[in-house]
């Protein structure tokens, strides 16, 4: 029993964090479609989970979890989870994945539109329990409105496609856990930014963070983050076991709720300035909403948990 990250896992996260601070600052979210991708690729980020035979490092999901949290903390745009986590399990024999030269999109089951499909060189579409892979030239995309300006949605039609002869469940479970890790990172950033604002914004001659009504909301977010994160860590450890799907659902539901709570409290405490397009906060709010719906909504994962825990059929 050693329920904590080791130095290598934390060092990887620290490296990713530094790169994202430099190359994916909040300002870049306004002007660039895919900031920091080149630099992440340079670090080998997209090969972390690929087997060594495919020029990867052959790491396990738990090894990269803190690094994935950092991509959430930075609100990094682009199909990060799809390219760095799903592709290594479904498309490991595609050349140039490790170098980050191939960008992958995913349309998961139960979702109408594919996020970031405009950036994808290859699109994986999962339908009826099986997956098909489609190169960009065979895909037609129609933009559809979503909640997140940096995570655009597209309706997908395609002419030709190749079936993927591997089961997609395990890869989707990993994507769910990875997205949950991003949501935890988002929540941590929302909390941190809001605490910082509450310390400097004054009203009635005092920082608003000295008011108990404000303190207690932030304390509730801190507690929620503190207790959601271990569910995500466990899910990364058990993803290949019998309880993998159940634990992934627990992680995703908890992380989705904590990120949307953190977003709600962040907006409330920032007040009217938070409700403007000018403040960078808007990007994190939108990402909390969009990722909490990705790879299964919170409600869908809760329903799975209900079935697993009480034995009820939905």
């Amino acid at each position: 029993m050693n329920f904590g990250f080791n130095d290598d896992q934390l060092a990887l996260a620290a490296t990713v964090r530094d790169v994202l601070r430099t190359h994916c600052p909040p300002g870049s979210l306004r002007s660039e479609r895919r900031p920091a991708w080149e630099q992440l690729a340079g670090l080998g980020f997209f090969g972390l989970l690929l087997p060594e035979a495919a020029d990867g490092l052959g790491l396990a999901l738990v090894d990269v979890l803190p690094a994935l949290e950092e991509t959430g903390r930075a609100c990094l745009p682009g199909p990060v989870v799809e390219t760095a986590v799903v592709a290594p399990y479904l498309l490991a024999d595609v050349p140039k994945l490790a170098s980050g030269a191939v960008c992958v999109g995913v349309l998961p089951p139960g979702q109408a539109y594919a996020a970031d499909a405009d950036l994808a060189d290859l699109l994986i579409v999962v339908r009826d329990g099986g997956a098909r892979v489609i190169p960009r030239r065979d895909v037609r995309l129609a933009p559809r409105r979503g909640v997140d300006p940096c995570r655009p949605l597209f309706e997908v039609t395609f002419s030709r496609s190749e079936p993927l002869p591997v089961p997609v469940g395990p890869a989707l479970a990993r994507a769910t856990v990875a997205t949950a890790a991003q949501l935890v990172g988002l929540a941590r950033e929302l909390l941190s930014v809001t605490v910082g604002y509450a310390r400097v914004r004054t009203q009635f001659g005092a920082p608003i963070g000295s008011f108990q009504a404000v303190k207690h909301q932030l304390a509730d977010v801190a507690v929620a983050v503190e207790f959601a994160a271990p569910l995500v860590y466990r899910a990364a450890l058990t993803v290949e076991s019998d309880s993998g799907d159940r634990d992934a659902s627990a992680a995703k539901a908890a992380a989705g709720e904590v990120a949307t709570l953190a977003a709600r409290v962040a907006l409330q405490i920032h007040g009217a300035i938070g409700y403007t397009e000018e403040l960078d906060l808007r990007f994190w709010l939108a990402r909390a909403w969009s990722l909490s719906a990705a790879y299964g909504t919170t409600a869908a994962h809760r329903e799975r948990l209900r079935t697993a825990i009480t034995g009820r059929r939905p």
């Binding site: 304390a219 509730d220 801190a222 207790f227 959601a228 058990t238 209900r306």
Partner: protein, 364 residues
């Protein structure tokens, strides 16, 4: 990172499970009655005979020198087996950590084995009518006399004090707000005890009046004037790991999931959520145990756990009442107890202030 137990830990779990299956008592009468108090003490003595009453204590005091992980395993098995709440908990989980850390060897040898065996049952005497959440405002005082101290004042809401043999708490030894407090242990003989019925009508609380109660020098814990610091270390234990291990909440969540099997989906959903939250607390505690075993202090982070487990416990019992309506018999006691969770060990309002100021760094 892993969630694997070692072969020795798995063997310990099986030993505990087997022992509890053979020795688990039938449901005991409430420990807040004379009859129930005696029955609980007998159960504590039986646990102690198997050296299971305080497994993480050193062997010389009646424990097994077990790790925190072993203790968590013991707790999971204890509550899963449906064993009773611990009448010794104020002593074992609140006083003992302070005795281990600040007590003299003589104090430890004198008190800990008797505490582990249920021979002495300790009540806490923190609160006063005008000093609950604002504990440092307390006015009960201790005056030096030949050989020891005389205690004066008025303490209240003292759990299990109606039947306890000993008490511990803070008394003022000088005027300074925090530095003027000293940590005393005292025998209950000589203290005027007035039982106070709790919401269930039983004398779970008591009011204590001290009119020059003598306690010898050997019952001062730590230095005179150091009581606040020692008490804060104790309350960190209380809010954190030692009083509320995850085993209790996991066992409650399991009973709840069973209860919700045929319930409507909205209620079943709440039950499933409770189970996952109990698991979140369990996992978080494994992480905390790892840090404590590496020598880190729990500190103000204990407040986060206190908020989480007390509100989870309340949600679980409120859901049981929603599921059962007025047939809530076996859940009523737990429900009433869960209502106390956000109040005792420092109200959750105070805990949120601690998290905001000392974890998040917001201004006072």
């Amino acid at each position: 990172m892993d969630l694997d137990f070692s072969p020795a830990e798995r063997a310990f779990r099986l030993e505990v499970r087997d022992w509890l299956a053979r020795h688990r008592p039938p449901p005991l009468p409430s420990m807040d009655t004379a009859e129930g108090f005696a029955a609980h003490r007998a159960w504590e003595a039986e646990l102690a005979a198997a050296r299971l009453s305080a497994v993480s204590w050193p062997e010389e005091y009646g424990g097994r020198g077990a790790s925190l992980i072993d203790w968590l395993i013991f707790e999971e098995e204890y509550w899963a087996a449906g064993c009773p709440a611990r009448v010794t908990q104020n002593g074992i989980f609140l006083l003992a950590p302070s005795l281990m850390r600040y007590g003299t060897p003589e104090q430890r040898e004198r008190h800990l084995p008797r505490m582990a065996g249920g021979d002495d049952v300790w009540a806490q005497a923190w609160s006063e009518p005008e000093a609950g959440s604002d504990l440092a405002a307390l006015t009960s005082r201790a005056e030096p006399c030949p050989g020891g101290w005389r205690l004066y004042g008025h303490k209240t809401w003292s759990s299990r004090a109606a039947f306890a043999t000993h008490g511990f708490g803070l008394f003022r030894t000088s005027g300074a707000r925090h530095k003027g407090l000293t940590y005393f242990m005292f025998p209950m003989a000589g203290v005027a005890v007035r039982p106070i019925a709790q919401l269930d009508g039983l004398p779970g609380f008591a009011e204590l009046r001290f009119d020059g109660v003598f306690t010898p020098d050997s019952m001062v814990l730590g230095e005179v004037g150091e009581g606040w610091r020692i008490a804060m270390a104790t309350t960190s234990s209380e809010r954190g790991l030692t009083l509320r291990s995850p085993g209790r909440f996991l066992a409650t969540a399991d009973r709840l999931a069973e209860l919700a099997r045929d319930a409507d989906p909205a209620l079943a959903d709440r039950a499933a959520r409770c189970r996952i939250e109990a698991e979140a607390y369990q996992l978080h505690t494994f992480g905390t145990a790892r840090r404590l075993m590496a020598g880190e202090e729990l500190g103000p982070a204990a407040s986060m756990g206190k908020i989480f487990w007390s509100e989870l416990d309340l949600r679980m019992h409120a859901l049981a009442l929603d599921l059962l309506g007025d047939r809530a018999e076996s859940w009523v006691d737990g429900f009433l107890f869960s209502l106390a969770g956000p109040i005792y060990a420092g109200t959750n309002e105070i805990q949120r202030n601690i998290v905001a100021e000392r974890v998040l760094g917001l201004p006072r």
